[in-house]
Symmetry: C2
């Protein structure tokens, strides 16, 4: 065992480099006491795995070292802090060097910090400040595009106004940040409806809040919908933050919706799509990762008899909350307008129409990885 | 409460309709004793939700009834079994009618029957019977295509021999069953390598078993790789069934790999992709749903200190098993050959080359839903 005591002395790196008051290593680990009182421990195998030398890491950051090749029982043979850097040599002769700031940043204590977007949950209170941009400022890229993508990342949706009414605009919008997910519905799909409230109940034309395509594996993570023409009066699009509603469910009902697989299915002449997922899908940390709610494609539940009534109670409670005015925002798509939703978080629907006419929309699917990537690059 | 006793009497449906020895209902549920001794219970809300009448169901099978509109406390007012059908009327006046066979098929006791493919786990023992088809028999569609897709569904991979060596063949192959998943690497990507074993260690050209793009959300579920030309001798593609290897891990190590989130990341000038997932991803039933193993893009682990050594032990044990000869199959791609892997199950890699030369491959991603849909339709 060796002990080193070290203060960062280089004035050029003093600001950036955290000060080390003491470091100790035995073969299997390196312990660092930082001047601010924090203590970090790094294991020999972890250090060897994260060697940043050109032999072990590609300039892109990809690891060239195959972790599997690290010898069993790898040990730290020496460790030295100097000039804002730490150099470690291993029993197998390899040497690794890091900025002390990197080590501090990668202290294991960061374990609970999840990756991914920072969600801001919302309800009807954002009705007066809907994230809305002009088509031309988003198409121009840069700050406009970034603002639009950032809204989707944070709120799960965003609206674009004043775009063209040409067919194909919807895929063009998706290509501003990512890639269209082609499906059996095509690269894009047409939604044409002839609205005649005189013949149908007003509410008959409404469509309850739902996510799209839960029967697909993987489920499309983004959906875009573009209005080419609309002569029918009164109908509105509705959106609701499924994460917010799930948050407000009772813990028992949330657990039931998260632990019960539901089968979703769509079949026609050319397709047969079926998958199984709970309505509330959790990640490995137990955090909500996705909502899948679609009464059209949900298959008959198969549940233990004693769960049927509690499950339906939870399913209906959640479904009815998704329709409640306090959670829902509404807006009308005029020709040229479009919106994008995070299809694993925000549910969409529409109200009925008060005047007859025709309506022509085009929709497409895309995925979040492209959106987040573009947003990250624009934010550099 | 009412009791009916009923035997299916119509000779035309006797074969298809299960016999009912007794049925009993109270307001909230219907209990059926089948002649074979099985007993089913169906709740009023479940029955109402699954009414197959044209008002409640579209001919496609999609539910038109919005489950949320079912009144609270819905009750069965009457139930009658006759001529292989059961008719139920509800307290709200609605009537529903099913074939008794449908009810029997949807008995809740089916709850544990998971959806999805029937996996056949494999190791090196299938080396002599690799699922290999000729390009022309698969392109023809029908039984050839079905056999190829069926192998992917069951084994997680399949090989095609004797195809063209034209650029773009790989996306053409994906379009035989589904849709290309375009990414920042394009609709397809080129893998060109100049092989010179004289200058590099033989194993330096090998590539350990890995899944592609775990940093992507959603991760592509299928990958195709097509060989356009290869003048380098000796190199082979390797595949391993990650589900089989996970099955052979100790339960403690499997649990560690399933419960610990790992961050994966790729960044270049134009992209920044990051996501978090455990190496072994389980579904809500606790069954293995996906393997994500890629030492290139795995970020420094953030773990509680006491978990670092056990986690690395599990990670290395799994990784080394993925390289073990008893799990691995090998084959050489000749110009015109291609293979497809289920990227959430089967890991791919390659051995080094013994002779110098050049190699040109093209790859693309696609998704399982298209494949399974096509397979289901071909199997009708």
């Amino acid at each position: 065992m060796t002990t080193t005591s070290q203060r960062v002395s280089d004035p050029l790196t003093r600001q950036a480099s955290p000060r080390v008051s003491q470091s100790v290593f035995d073969g299997s680990r390196l312990r660092v006491d930082w001047a601010d009182g924090h203590r970090s421990t790094f294991h020999a195998v972890w250090l060897r795995d994260n060697c940043p030398c050109p032999e072990c890491r590609h300039p892109s950051g990809q690891r060239l070292l195959d972790t599997r090749s690290i010898p069993d029982g790898i040990a730290v043979a020496a460790a030295r802090f100097e000039n804002g850097e730490v150099e470690t040599s291993f029993a197998d002769g390899h040497r690794a060097r890091w900025a002390t700031g990197w080590l501090r940043d990668h202290c294991y204590c960061g374990e609970e910090r999840p990756a991914g977007p920072r969600h801001r949950l919302w309800g009807a209170e954002i009705q007066s400040e809907l994230p809305t941009l002009r088509f031309e400022e988003v198409v121009a890229g840069g700050a406009g595009l970034r603002a639009w993508l950032s809204a989707v990342d944070e709120l799960g949706f965003a609206i674009l106004r004043g775009g063209p009414t040409e067919p194909g605009t919807v895929t063009r919008a998706a290509e501003l940040f990512g890639y269209v997910r082609e499906t059996n519905y095509g690269r894009l799909f047409d939604v044409r409806s002839v609205v005649n409230p005189g013949n149908l109940a007003y509410t008959g034309l409404g469509l309850g809040a739902h996510t799209d395509n839960p029967y697909r594996d993987p489920t499309p993570t983004l959906q875009l919908l573009h209005c080419l023409s609309s002569s029918a009066g009164g109908g509105e699009n509705t959106l609701v933050d499924g994460f917010r509603v799930a948050d407000d469910l009772s813990p028992g009902q949330r657990d039931l919706l998260a632990s019960t697989p539901v089968r979703f299915r769509f079949a026609d002449e050319e397709s047969e799509l079926e998958t199984e997922t709970p309505v509330l899908e959790l990640d490995v940390r137990g955090a909500l990762r996705a909502v899948h709610y679609n009464t059209r494609s949900a298959q008959p539940f198969r549940l233990r008899e004693e769960l049927v009534e509690p499950y339906y109670a939870a399913y209906l409670a959640f479904g009815r909350m998704l329709e409640a005015p306090e959670y829902r925002i509404r807006f009308r798509l005029e020709p040229g307008d479009l919106f994008i939703v995070d299809n694993l978080r925000v549910l969409h629907g529409r109200t009925g129409y008060s005047e007859s006419g025709e309506r022509h929309l085009q929709g497409c699917y895309a995925d979040r990885d492209g959106l987040r990537s573009k947003l990250a690059v624009l934010s550099r």
